[in-house]
């Protein structure tokens, strides 16, 4: 059951590379040399946060790459990720969202998202915010390493992000998505309330397109 999304406050880590794919967010196999058996993360391991961006976070010996943004001390407790366009493209693996969430990120801001990834965010209490490239770059400038205590606020009820400078950026979100996040609503529970409607549709569809629902040739 997802918990309601309440306003969040925290650091925002800038990772503005375009086209970051879900294989990169959630690598299928662990980097060599970490002394652990490779795990395919869709299964959901207990090391979700440790595996996030593993190919970028760790070097060949399994040590932290200090330059990688999530390894920098000022971003180790970041709650927001500022990302490049088409973030989360590629594979449908939901472990990409699980890992970001498990690591501590609750909001991803990007000019655009991979569509399957975007949908999976809402099912896991992660807010994907779409802003234009310039706005994301502006936020990233305010989050730049070295900026003293650069704290961002994301207010979903008001659909706005407050940058450390006080600048407020508004964002759009479909009402159905916003209500679900704010209320911590479970989509399966919501749909199951329509079970009579579903049954009625099945009856109609069975008559209209019988070849789709019969036993076929077997």
């Amino acid at each position: 059951m997802p918990e309601p999304f309440v306003a969040i406050r925290g650091a925002a880590a800038p990772l503005l590379r375009p086209n970051v794919d879900t294989d990169t967010i959630s690598p299928g196999s662990r980097p060599a040399g970490r002394g652990e058996r490779a795990t395919f993360n869709e299964k959901g391991s207990s090391t979700l946060a440790a595996d996030l961006f593993a190919g970028w976070r760790y070097d060949e010996n399994g040590d932290d790459v200090p330059e990688f943004v999530l390894n920098k001390p000022e971003f180790r407790d970041a709650k927001i990720l500022l990302a490049g366009r088409n973030f989360g493209c590629g594979s449908s693996r939901e472990s990409a969202v699980w890992m970001l969430r498990e690591w501590g990120l609750r909001c991803i801001v990007a000019p655009s998202f991979g569509e399957i990834f975007y949908g999976s965010c809402f099912k896991n209490g992660v807010l994907p915010v779409q802003l234009d490239e310039d706005a994301v770059a502006m936020l990233a400038a305010e989050a730049a390493p070295g900026a003293p205590r650069a704290i961002f606020e994301v207010d979903l009820a008001r659909a706005e992000i407050r940058a450390p400078s006080g600048t407020i950026l508004r964002f759009e979100l479909p009402k159905i998505r916003r209500d679900a996040l704010l209320g911590g609503l479970d989509e399966i529970d919501q749909t199951l309330e329509r079970v009579a409607e579903i049954a009625a549709f099945e009856a109609r569809a069975g008559t209209a397109w019988p070849w789709l629902y019969g036993k076929g040739a077997r």
Partner: protein
């Protein structure tokens, strides 16, 4: 079946297709005390984690927890499985077509982004994540936002040795990996109309690599001829009624799309990727692009990162790059037409010293047919290993993540993604057609299949 407002709709799912990674979803169902609403519309096959080569014959994978849990869940809920070793086993997107599970006009959901392959039937077929998968199991529906519509019209004459894979790679290079993001993408035009169903599968398969969750091709005589007589396709009067309905599933004349492209394929060369995104692609006669000038911060130079990872230099010719491995298979290029095309190049030639080469058929049906035609002998005589059906080296999950290559292995692969670490940590993947992959295996380096054929003609 219901309008949820704001452009969202609750869609009924006519076919729910499962692979072995769905094992976890069954556990979630149990935790939440939910059942499967329509087991009769749900079908599965283990493909991602199954062993396809060294360990393929060892067992029916009773020691593979993904497969074991998947079987248990399917059995408990009465879901039909096409299991390892059975005549219908294979990669889910391959067998769903072979069995006639995918039909024009159907909505098809599957926990794999390459479900768009089945849009080649004129079906609405899309990939879903694990949570959505549980939602579909429990409710047989999916909440979806209506996408914008894009059409790519392919015109011109396809040159010799240019395969469907080359056409889709070329498009991805032109439009970019976000080129169709947010769209349902229809492929149309005379080139598509002349394509076989198998060619259409390859094209639709990589719609997701253009950012499109849905790829579509209007059903036509080719579609109907392919489907007629398939195990799960309708029969008799039901077929007649279905076909009448399917003939209406075409875009209206003069339909307005939100975006339109017309692409001439006449001058396309065989394609090969040089980097770590499917859009990093060039003709085999081309040179690797120079890295951009360094930009500020993290936005800097994706090309530079890609070149560093892949171990190549901008400005060099891609042809002549020495390779270590070739993989022919995956839901993109593992059908009988792919294997025939590969075998035609492999026949009477031999894989270069030091190169490991695999051919993994997409299904048991493909494997059996290839063996009837003697393609397995051609491959094995040429030094290729001949595998059993599964995703194998495509996503680095085959044989429970054991079918991967060592870091820095350079692989020419007929798969769909050359992402960092896709075929094992540090591996360097070059996407290409089956013919180009065989040519690389024979030459021991990336080369133009047309030159190889002409030189030895």
């Amino acid at each position: 079946m219901a309008d949820l407002g704001d452009g969202f709709a609750l869609l009924y799912v006519d076919r729910h297709l499962l692979n072995d990674l769905a094992a976890r979803a069954f556990l979630t169902l149990d935790d939440r005390k939910l059942g499967v609403r329509r087991a009769d519309l749900t079908f599965g096959t283990p493909d991602h984690t199954v062993a396809t080569l060294a360990n393929a014959s060892a067992s029916r994978e009773d020691a593979n927890p993904y497969v074991v849990n998947f079987r248990q869940g399917a059995r408990k809920h009465g879901i039909k499985l096409f299991d390892i070793g059975e005549a219908e086993h294979g990669i889910i997107h391959v067998i769903a077509a072979e069995l006639g599970l995918a039909l024009p006009g159907a909505t098809i959901a599957c926990g794999d982004s390459h479900t768009c392959t089945l849009g080649a039937f004129g079906a609405l077929a899309w990939g879903i994540g694990q949570s959505e998968l549980v939602h579909v199991l429990a409710t047989q529906t999916s909440v979806q936002r209506k996408p914008a519509a894009m059409r790519v019209t392919l015109v011109g004459d396809v040159p010799a040795y240019v395969e469907p894979k080359d056409i889709i790679l070329y498009l991805i290079g032109r439009l970019g990996v976000a080129g169709a993001a947010g769209y349902a993408l229809e492929f149309a035009g005379p080139v598509v109309e002349r394509m076989s169903m198998e060619a259409r599968f390859t094209v639709c398969n990589m719609a997701i690599e253009l950012g499109a969750k849905f790829g579509l091709i209007a059903p036509d005589e080719t579609t109907f001829a392919y489907l007629r007589g398939r195990a799960y396709a309708p029969l008799g009067a039901l077929w007649e009624a279905a076909e009448r309905d399917w003939r209406a599933l075409v875009s209206d004349d003069g339909a307005l799309f939100d975006a339109e492209w017309v692409v001439d394929v006449s001058a396309i060369e065989p394609q090969i990727t040089w980097g770590t995104s499917p859009e990093h692609v060039i003709g085999v006669g081309g040179t690797i692009p120079e890295a951009e000038e360094l930009l500020a911060g993290e936005a800097a130079a994706p090309r530079r990162r890609a070149l560093e990872y892949i171990g190549l230099a901008g400005g060099d010719a891609i042809a002549g790059t020495a390779i270590d491995m070739v993989f022919i298979g995956s839901c993109t290029n593992s059908r009988i037409s792919d294997l025939r095309s590969a075998a035609a190049i492999a026949r009477g030639r031999h894989v270069a010293d030091g190169v490991t080469a695999w051919v993994v058929p997409g299904s048991q049906v493909v494997k059996d047919e290839a063996e009837r035609e003697g393609l397995d002998r051609i491959f094995e005589d040429a030094g290729f290993k001949w595998g059993s059906p599964g995703c194998s080296m495509c996503a680095g999950a085959g044989d429970q993540m054991a079918e991967i290559a060592a870091p820095k292995t350079r692989i020419v692969s007929t798969t769909n993604r050359n992402f960092v670490g896709r075929q094992g940590p540090g591996t360097r993947t070059h996407l290409a057609s089956p013919a180009m992959a065989v040519a690389a295996a024979i030459a021991g380096r990336i080369c133009d299949v047309r030159e190889l054929v002409e030189r030895h003609a």
